[in-house]
């Protein structure tokens, strides 16, 4: 199997999949080469991520990357999430094949956009940052 057990688990049992109503922030990223798309919705408490939900269109790794990102981001400061790196997501998936690195990039880009959107809306406490 060219994918890690963690990746396969997140693909088969995606965490936090689906739409969130009245989110405090949302953001998406599309990978131009293949049209893969990931979108996150964030619920924020005290400047930290309380809950994230995702929607993704793409190959198995793209779905798994979005799923693992919702777990990875939980409880973290929005400021941190606005700087989230693709490598963090790839590490959480225990690696990605060279030709599927874009899965982590799309998820990281979407999470950064969602965090920035929540910060921009300004109706959330930025945790003193």
């Amino acid at each position: 199997m060219r994918y890690s057990a963690t990746l396969v688990d997140h693909f088969l049992n995606p965490r936090n999949a689906g739409l969130m109503r009245d989110a405090d922030g949302s953001g998406s990223e599309e990978f131009e080469g293949c049209g893969d798309l990931t979108r996150f919705y964030l619920r924020v408490r005290d400047g930290r991520l309380a809950e994230a939900r995702f929607q993704a269109y793409g190959c198995g790794p793209t779905i798994a990357a979005a799923s693992v990102a919702t777990e990875l981001a939980a409880g973290r400061l929005l400021g941190d999430l606005s700087l989230l790196k693709a490598q963090d997501i790839e590490d959480a998936l225990e690696g990605l094949p060279e030709d599927r690195k874009h899965a982590a990039e799309v998820a990281a880009g979407a999470m950064r956009a969602a965090a920035l959107d929540a910060l921009r809306r300004g109706n959330v406490d930025n945790g003193g940052a």
Partner: protein
């Protein structure tokens, strides 16, 4: 996960046990070069001759009209380039849905100065013979049309095209890699002058295939060297491969008709099982004029690779209609030519059934597809793609 279901027979098939048994001595005791005059060579030559006669009998052609090659790709290269280069210059007619072995050979000939017309297909993947008629020019030197398409299975109106080719006096090459040994291929009735066929699609070994060349057809070799295959294709014969292909063909002669009937019923049962369980699905390809085992099913707004992965994890082998490499996705050229909208083409998955496929397999696959697609769609943004 213990259950394994192989529904990728259009890609390759397992070697039939009887074929393997027939081949084994030619990896061991019988190792001579068929071109050698001594006893070792004569044994090998005899085996090659028997295989050639079996294939000739199956195709109802003369043994000396058959040339062995290394694979379907070589046969297609030989067929197209051999006809074109023998005529030096002129115009070729082929279609947009050919295998890349034909398409890229045609492009290579364009680079050498030949003109090529690529015919369109309708939404079922079918070429209109009237388009062939309209494309014919005084300088047309060859027509190459596939018998059935490997991705969607649509069987082309080869007989009608063969009549046009005859009338125009233009040689007609047919890539029959997906039909040879699966449905009847009668080169005389279909008006075919050159026919590519392969072994590993019909439970024979890989690395061996053939090209039928009607006697009297002007053709040049594209591989030069020794005087093998009546000076048409140089290179020491792949004796075990040829023996295996000969046996595989003999078995097809015995089993083909009954199996085609059985596999067609299973194919339709698979489509029914999926259609009734999964919303927003479509069948790509012709509803009836289609290869017995081929079902190309589109799942709207789902990426086919996620389905292939989900099914692979359940032990099921199918193939994706779109190929994604390093973040670049290429929807299949066949589905694009058929005008399948992108939101459907991206989610195309081909199942190709074969001799080992059972009704239980089909039920398991239909249920698994429903489960995987529902799961992938749950994570999907509404209206994306």
């Amino acid at each position: 996960m213990s259950r394994r279901v192989y529904l990728d027979h259009n890609a390759s098939t397992p070697v039939h046990p009887e074929v393997l048994a027939e081949m084994l001595p030619y990896f061991g005791d019988v190792y001579g070069n068929p071109s050698s005059v001594h006893g070792f060579g004569r044994e090998a030559r005899a085996a090659v001759d028997v295989a050639r006669e079996r294939i000739a009998a199956f195709l109802r052609v003369r043994p000396d009209e058959l040339v062995f090659t290394s694979g379907g790709t070589e046969s297609d290269n030989f067929g197209l380039k051999g006809l074109a280069l023998a005529r030096g210059s002129g115009h070729l007619i082929t279609s947009t849905i050919e295998h890349h072995a034909v398409l890229r050979s045609a492009q290579a000939l364009e680079a050498l100065g030949f003109a090529v017309t690529y015919l369109p297909v309708d939404q079922t993947g079918m070429i209109d013979p009237d388009d062939v008629r309209r494309a014919l020019r005084p300088d047309t030197i060859a027509i190459s049309i596939m018998h059935a398409n490997s991705e969607v299975g649509t069987i082309q109106p080869v007989r009608a095209i063969g009549v046009l080719a005859r009338e125009a006096g233009v040689p007609f090459h047919v890539d029959a890699v997906q039909t040879f040994g699966k449905i009847d291929v009668d080169v005389d009735a279909l008006g075919i002058d050159a026919l590519s066929f392969s072994s590993h699609k019909i439970y024979g070994p890989k690395g061996i295939a053939g090209l039928y060349i009607r006697r009297g057809t002007k053709m040049v070799s594209i591989q030069h060297g020794g005087e093998h295959e009546r000076r048409r294709r140089a290179g020491t014969e792949n004796v075990p491969g040829i023996v295996g292909l000969g046996k595989a063909v003999e078995i097809r002669g015995r089993d083909m008709r009954a199996e085609a009937e059985r596999v067609t019923a299973l194919r339709d049962r698979l489509w029914e099982g999926i259609r009734t369980r999964v919303p927003e699905v479509r069948l790509n390809g012709h509803p009836t004029e289609r290869l017995p085992g081929t079902a190309n099913i589109g799942y709207r707004n789902v990426e086919s690779e996620s389905i292939v992965l989900g099914l692979d994890l359940k032990g099921i082998a199918v193939s994706a209609g779109s190929a994604c490499t390093a973040g670049n996705v290429e929807p299949s050229h066949v589905l694009v030519a058929m005008g399948v909208p992108l939101d459907w083409a991206m989610g195309a998955v081909r199942s190709s059934l074969g001799r080992s496929t059972t009704a239980e397999d089909v039920e398991y696959v239909a249920a698994s597809v429903a489960e995987v697609v529902a799961k992938v769609r749950k994570a999907m943004p509404v209206g994306a793609a």
